[in-house]
């Protein structure tokens, strides 16, 4: 009868020793990265950035060449229909958010005009990260520092700059899995827990929350972080579950606005 832990032939033992050494190396690299505050990962991102950029250009060139035109046409059609549905559902919500934002900021318009900021390209895939992070093509050489807010063109806060390099920064999405953000929805101060692409907040039943209501984050300059997409108001539960989403698809973003 075989036993997985019996002493194997020499190549097996050698391979296992090799695997063990790689395991130790992996643990060492991860611990070293933690001890150095992410400097190893910054170096890796610096190396990968040109590859990512080059790959993105190749993808664009192939897409524009029409080689996959039929597939592309179908994808475009599906995407257009999905966008139409999404726009119908969320356009009013976005307007409400903007209206409220405009009302509250109109008196501070002169400050908003003078608030420093920089537009930065999104340099990585939004969906690749399991941790809800992505990179932008601007760093501390461009005046960006950790903690800076990253906004969509509509003014919604997408995330915060988590780590900066010279010309690249890692952004932590507000809706990353496990991320928690204090928000205000219809006057109720609640905590929105990121679920990857959306967030969920528990709101007491006494407060009326409807689809399309904006969710603002007082800690982030009272900027909107999304709109209410769905309310699960099951009376059997003590609180109603409110799902918050951005009115735009993160994957469609090419540029973001970074402000301290």
């Amino acid at each position: 009868m075989g036993n997985g832990f019996r002493p194997g032939p020499a190549p097996t033992r050698k391979g296992r020793r090799q695997l063990f050494l790689v395991t130790l190396l992996a643990i060492f690299v991860v611990l070293l990265n933690m001890a150095l505050g992410g400097k190893v990962s910054a170096m890796v991102r610096d190396v990968v950035a040109p590859v990512s950029d080059f790959g993105g250009k190749i993808g664009t060139a192939i897409s524009q060449s029409g080689y996959f035109s039929s597939r592309r046409a179908l994808e475009a059609q599906v995407s257009a229909l999905q966008d139409e549905v999404q726009q119908d559902q969320l356009q009013a919500a976005a307007f409400a958010a903007v209206e409220q934002q405009n009302a509250s900021l109109s008196s501070l318009e002169h400050l908003a005009q003078t608030s420093p900021g920089i537009a930065a390209p999104v340099t990585s895939s939004i969906v690749s990260s399991p941790y809800g992070t992505f990179t932008i093509g601007a760093g501390n050489a461009d005046g960006i520092s950790s903690g800076a807010l990253v906004l969509s063109s509509g003014g919604f806060v997408i995330g915060k700059v988590a780590q900066t390099q010279a010309h690249q920064s890692l952004v932590d999405e507000l809706f990353a899995p496990g991320a928690q953000t204090d928000v205000s929805i219809d006057g109720a101060a609640v905590v929105a827990s990121g679920q990857g692409g959306q967030a969920m907040a528990q709101v007491p039943h006494g407060i009326t929350v409807t689809q399309g209501d904006p969710a603002n984050a007082p800690d982030l300059g009272d900027r909107p972080i999304g709109v209410v997409q769905h309310v699960d108001s099951n009376p059997a539960n003590a609180e109603q579950a409110v799902y918050i989403a951005l009115p735009v698809s993160l994957s469609s973003l090419q540029f973001v606005y970074v402000t301290p």
Binding site: G4, G8, T12, Q18, L19, A26, V30, P130, Y131, P177
Partner: protein, 84 residues
């Protein structure tokens, strides 16, 4: 078989950069199932170095590195028994 191993590893590394995170995860499992694959562990480390914010979500735990190490070693008896 070596070329299959190389192709899976390359797909995993490309997936880590360009595609969704579950493609590297699948590649790690496939590599670990069939091969005594040190590159699966490197792929896990690569994912974490690329995407993990130090001290960020999940308490900064390098989930992909942990996943790769666990998967590679948990399949070791299986590989020895059936595939060696």
């Amino acid at each position: 078989m070596t070329w299959i191993r190389i192709i899976i590893a390359v797909i995993g590394f490309l997936g880590a950069i360009f595609w969704s995170w579950y493609i590297p995860a699948i590649c790690i499992v496939l590599l670990a199932l069939r091969f005594r694959s040190w590159e699966a562990i490197l792929l896990g480390v690569f994912m974490d170095l690329l995407w993990l914010e130090p001290g960020g979500g999940f308490h900064g735990l390098p989930l992909f590195t942990i996943f790769a190490i666990v998967v590679v070693w948990i399949f070791e008896p299986l590989r020895v028994e059936f595939l060696s």
